[in-house]
């Protein structure tokens, strides 16, 4: 059975209908974009940093196998166990085996988009492991049984009143108490005993360094450190594209990451993990899950430079007005729209069209991914792979033919040609109908420019270009 493509446009209708949520979401993310701009203006070297970051990533990706092996060697000599996961299933199996070997039944986990990719939580739940997210936003999403809607601020689509209701359901707090401080305190009280008694801790990783065999986790809540310091075992799941060659490279990215993401100079916590605590184990699971294949895609491989700052989402006018969940994918927004189709072309075939291709995403990207050009390219690939809906494909085909025939085109513009080729009129008009749902049509005019020109410049315009050329020379 063919999977149905994500209905982004439909989900956006519902998102937009809810004005308080829409307004908050748009304003909150736009505020992050503005704070990012303010940080950029403070650094005269901003564009140079972007170029350096892009160059380092491209170099690392071009030599990926070497740097991965260098990391593995150095990490092992630091006492870290290194695992290789070809896909999500292998990743989940590895994590479950590590936990099982220690008899761990509770796992405290900080935010990791790769574990979302792998669908780790349900896998572990089915094996009797209780997973508790300890990033506040991620925990809210977990309690509400939703995917993160943003890669940095996972519950940004929710108001505090929504959180109050979720906490009331899960923690028995007052459903009407939506003061952020009270809510944070409720989460603190609920999380603390879980953290203290957890059997194992898990984190993601923002960067790993080949030359040192170490990895870095950036958070603002310090939650990754709470996961990592659980006695016993620390598992870190990291995508293979997150490698940087040298420790010296890291500064470029640390300077860009939080400025791009939140408009703050640096994350509150930038933790370097160099090896296990005394008496504990440290495991790094390096996940491929389609990345090697993407590296081989000439038009799309640079999407692997992404450092998951979310700047493209914050600036995206479509994302701000449709919400991350409308993308129906782990990765939403502009970066999601170019990554998701590599996981499932059919399911995510609509996402490259959830864009006006305005290009703002490309301009804010700290590692200079040409996001809007990849959106443009994806559309071609999807058409070539027959992923465009039939009616739209036919309309484009017909329009293309019409545009090549001046007389037929003119007749169509003048309204004297009613049968627009072979497509039934109802299909064409149904397709164009949405224009008028929330918008007026342009007012009818007395005459087209074309007929005005023929009346007012009666001798001009019929000349062929060759004669024009001749006249020019004469």
């Amino acid at each position: 059975m063919r999977e149905k493509p994500v209905n982004h446009a439909g989900a956006a209708v519902a998102f937009i209908a809810d004005k308080p949520h829409l307004d908050f979401h748009d304003a909150r993310l736009w505020d992050m974009r503005q704070k990012r701009d303010a940080q950029m203006h403070l650094l005269p070297e901003w564009q140079d940093l972007r170029s350096r970051a892009s160059a380092i990533k491209e170099h690392a990706l071009a030599n990926l196998a070497d740097y991965l092996e260098e990391f593995e060697r150095n990490a092992k000599s630091n006492g870290i166990h290194v695992h290789w996961a070809a896909d999500g299933a292998e990743h989940n199996r590895i994590v479950a085996e590590i936990l099982e070997a220690r008899g761990a039944r509770t796992l405290i986990k900080s935010k990791s988009m790769v574990t979302e990719e792998c669908d780790l939580r349900p896998y572990l739940a089915a094996r009797g492991v209780t997973v508790t997210e300890n990033d506040l936003g991620e925990r809210i999403q977990q309690l509400d049984d939703q995917m993160p809607s943003h890669i940095v601020v996972p519950s940004v689509h929710k108001l505090t009143s929504d959180v109050a209701r979720i906490f009331a359901r899960s923690y028995g707090t007052d459903p009407n108490a939506d003061d952020p401080h009270q809510l944070a305190e409720a989460q603190r009280l609920a999380a603390r005993p879980v953290i203290l008694h957890a059997d194992a801790g898990m984190t993601g990783g923002n960067f790993f360094v080949a030359e040192t065999g170490t990895f870095v986790v950036c958070t603002n809540e310090g939650n990754a450190d709470l996961s990592a310091t659980v006695p016993g075992v620390h598992i870190a799941t990291i995508g293979i594209e997150r490698v940087v060659p040298r420790m010296a490279d890291l500064g470029v990215f640390i300077r860009l990451l939080s400025r791009s993401a939140l408009g703050s100079p640096i994350t509150q916590y930038t933790s370097h993990f160099r090896g296990p605590q005394d008496g504990s184990e440290m495991h790094v699971v390096l996940v491929d899950n389609g990345r090697s294949a993407r590296l081989g895609m000439a038009d799309f491989w640079t999407s692997l430079k992404c450092i998951r700052c979310g700047a493209c989402m914050n600036t995206c006018p479509v994302y701000r007005r449709s919400g991350g969940l409308s993308y129906g994918a782990v990765y939403s927004g502009p970066i999601g729209a170019i990554i998701d189709p590599t996981f499932n072309e059919r399911k995510y075939s609509t996402l490259p069209y959830a864009s006006t291709m305005n290009g703002s995403c490309t301009n804010v990207c700290p590692v200079k991914i040409n996001i809007h050009e990849q959106l443009y390219k994806w559309r071609q690939v999807l058409v070539e792979h027959h992923q465009m809906p039939f009616v739209k494909r036919e309309i484009m085909h017909m329009a293309g033919k019409l545009m090549g025939q001046p007389r037929l085109y003119r007749a169509a513009i003048n309204g004297t040609e009613t049968a627009l080729g072979t497509l039934p009129r109802f299909a064409l008009y149904n397709w164009l109908n949405p224009w008028g749902k929330n918008r007026e049509l342009p007012a009818p005019v007395k005459e087209t420019f074309h007929s005005w020109y023929r009346r007012n410049r009666p001798t001009a315009g019929k000349a062929t270009p060759e004669t024009v050329k001749t006249e020019t020379k004469a």
Binding site: V13, T356, N363, H397, K401, E440, A460, P465, V468
Partner: protein, 249 residues
């Protein structure tokens, strides 16, 4: 005598905004240019290519090259069509004629600003407060103005031109670079988001005190005007060519 200029009038301007085509033609003639509008023209092919259907643009692109390759310059009052011709005319074989067309196609503002280097429009007077809307193609592809995301030194070719018009005042919207949501077929396939973006855009200009939204792109304004009218936002729309050609309102 000026150059031999081929005037391209985008399909939606031909059909819905003939005044914009007329203003463009008259303005170029007023500036001493020899302008011809080849009457067999249709469309640049952009709608098909932007949807991903590149091969379906071939007929439109071939016709365009046939009609325009004999001109010294091709000028059009549209940023997105210009961008398409210049950057995306890939559906046909790249002959000398195609290369000539790609290299010599200009959006009206950049042609006036960069090629003719006009700064004064003594015949023009527009004693109104206007909000300037740059289409994303004009802004981020043709780069007719500085982009807020890059923190580059501020410049704006359309504003420089409009500053040569007597009496004009500028409103400053809060999000000058935000896309208005037209996006070609996006306007129908993502109708809800598109219309919401359009409404937010016209409200931003209205609250900044603009009586008019002025733009070099009629497609954005067709969409914005539809959103403004449906939601009773009291703001009017005018193409930059009309102001520069001396429209009085």
């Amino acid at each position: 005598m000026g150059m031999k200029i081929g005037l391209f009038v985008p399909c939606y301007i031909d059909a819905f905004y003939p005044g914009v085509g007329i203003a463009t033609l008259e303005l170029l003639e007023r500036l001493g240019q020899d302008v011809t509008y080849p009457t067999e023209q249709t469309c640049c092919g952009q709608p098909m290519t932007n949807a991903g259907c590149v091969s379906d643009s071939a007929a439109a692109e071939a016709l365009f090259v046939k009609l325009f390759s004999g001109f010294d310059a091709i000028v059009m009052p549209s940023g997105s069509c210009t961008h398409h011709v210049r950057a995306h005319f890939d559906a046909i074989e790249q002959t000398d004629a195609v290369r000539h067309v790609r290299a010599n196609t200009y959006e009206l503002v950049e042609f006036l600003h960069d090629v003719l280097k006009v700064r004064d429009f003594p015949w023009a007077e527009f004693p109104h407060t206007v909000g300037l809307h740059n289409s994303c193609s004009s802004l981020r592809a043709l780069r007719t103005a500085s982009m807020s995301e890059l923190g580059e030194p501020a410049f704006s070719k359309p504003k420089t031109l409009l500053s040569g018009v007597k009496g004009i005042r500028f409103a400053t919207p809060a999000r000058p670079d935000e896309c208005c949501g037209f996006g070609g077929t996006f306007s129908v396939t993502e109708e809800a988001v598109s219309a919401r973006m359009g409404l937010d855009k016209v409200r931003d200009h209205f609250h900044a005190g603009a009586e008019y939204i002025v733009s070099a792109d009629s497609s954005c304004m067709m969409h914005q005007q539809g959103c403004a009218e449906r939601n009773h936002v009291d703001i009017r729309f005018i193409h930059i060519a009309e102001i520069l050609n001396g429209a009085r309102q």
